[in-house]
Symmetry: C3
Subunit: 139 residues, 3 copies
């Protein structure tokens, strides 16, 4: 039993940019030849989040619309009044979705459904170079 750590680095446009990182995570599992294990993904940062969804442009837009309803960009945020960052909505969105995701690995592959992809959501209000930590516990 051992820990394997890797870092995924990815360019984002910000403003609820939703990116499919499944191929990158799959490559990490293959690179380290993990047969059985758990893959913990974690976004260090308070304006990014992780979940899974079918990565299809229609439903990605639908998810953006639901997030806009939950924490609209255009309403006043106390964070912005105090700090002038303009990204109060980004922080709230990230806290609601959450920064961590666990995916089991079996027979050398991520145990995702056929139409299920791992996505990074970058809610910040500007382009970012994002780092996502991949920490695999391998049998």
């Amino acid at each position: 039993m051992k820990f394997i750590s890797d870092i995924i680095q990815i360019e984002t446009t910000g403003d609820t940019d939703i990116l499919d990182i499944t191929p990158i995570v799959t490559d990490i599992v293959r690179k380290y030849q993990v047969k059985t294990g758990t893959c913990l993904l974690f976004v260090p940062g308070s304006t990014g989040a992780l979940t899974t969804i079918e990565f299809e442009s229609g439903v990605i837009q639908d998810l953006k619309d639901a997030i806009e309803r939950a924490a609209p960009k255009g309403i006043p945020y106390a964070h912005d009044k105090r700090w002038g960052d303009g990204n109060g909505y980004s922080h709230v969105r990230a806290a609601l979705i959450g920064p961590s995701l666990n995916v089991p690995i079996s027979e050398g592959g991520l145990m995702l459904g056929t139409w299920q992809q791992i996505v990074l959501l970058d809610f910040d209000n500007r382009p970012r170079t994002r780092r996502i930590l991949a920490q695999i516990l391998s049998e």
Copy 2:
């Protein structure tokens, strides 16, 4: 330290069917005589999710109402326009709640609160035979 893997199979009605899977998970912990460990539960599929709640019909309805406010069934979804599946709302709901849950195990039992149950939420728009992966890391 070892991984134990099992699969929970359960019939659902779909359309935000919320089911208490605690007894099934408890049986798995007992079957493999896990004393100390972590139980990762994961739904493969992009229209299912996991969380915990007091499994009481009143609050289950309240949770359904909150999810309906967040991603209403009756509004247009881009996913449905493109694919005609009619389950755009299901995908969005599942992505908001998330597919994975971790529960610690100690002294041979799940460390849940007294009124806290593990629930599967099936958001799809039709009955499904659902599989939930239980991956336990046991000391």
Copy 3:
């Protein structure tokens, strides 16, 4: 590889009290001299939840406002009609955010972002003495 278990005990005011527990979790990581590992945090109880956010009073209020929009305190809840607890909104809020969080540990520290703190959200409608389970898998 070994499991380390500890319990965080904390007084809350309830009613969506959001508390920064990062210093307490950091102390646990130091106390057990964990170099590499995974920290699972779990709230036993169906009216508490965990996430990460920048712990700044402005954005904490913004998060409370978003949660109030998602599951308003002032609307009728079936849970309250049946049980008279008055905390139906608390249960729904906790189920939406979720009870578990995983944070990787590397080089003896939690791998959080610079402005990212771990927060307990106590949604119950009264003050509580809350217990949060910290289960660390240490290399």
